[in-house]
Symmetry: C2
Subunit: 122 residues, 2 copies
């Protein structure tokens, strides 16, 4: 068994500049570790069969839920339980690490113009 | 569905001081999100049925593998595939975030004096 690589989150984030288009940087127990740059509003959606983890690397991320809004920054994380409607947003560019089960579209059960199904691995 | 809490990793790490004794700070898809302070040498072990994710929050973490050593710092992560023998170490205190499947002992299939089976949730 070969020693696994060290994955540098900041280095991975430095390789692209578009928003709301996650890249895969690793895999863990059938889940994808993803990074993304986000700015502005995402669409309301939910994931039927996967929780979704958001960890902020830089900037501030907001997530609207039907009963409230969460805002969080570097070193803070939120796990959105499966089936929970949510709408991420960021007033300024924000860099995040995410986890979703393998193959999950970014808009879950709610396709939109922002849907990304086949993500690049970087 | 209630909006989930924001989890502040640094705040959680500030609530304890002992080494090699992970605490659970959240759950994601049947896995536990854990934080730990580590210093010195852990024991050689492997996890038969779970990958193990290590993300460094502060300090430098080393992991020995049978064919090499990895050293990594803040903003860097390593996923140890299931079944891979490894031995974490840190020359100075290091703060980490980890993920393991729910209920997995920290020493996996290799019980030792450092084994923690029932972890506290903080």
């Amino acid at each position: 068994m070969t020693a696994p690589d060290v994955i540098n989150i900041g280095q991975k984030l430095g390789t692209f500049s578009d928003h709301w288009n996650p890249r895969i940087i690793g895999n863990y127990n059938g889940n994808e570790i993803r990074v993304a740059k986000v700015e502005g509003d995402f669409d309301w959606h939910s994931h039927r069969e996967t929780d979704e983890l958001f960890l902020v690397i830089s900037g501030e991320l907001g997530i609207e839920f039907r009963d409230g809004t969460r805002r969080f920054g570097p070193g803070e994380l939120v796990v959105v339980p499966r089936g929970t409607e949510h709408k991420p947003f960021a007033q300024k560019e924000c860099q995040i690490l995410m986890m979703d089960r393998e193959g999950e579209p970014n808009t879950g059960a709610n396709p939109s113009d922002l849907t990304r199904v086949k993500l690049d691995t970087i």
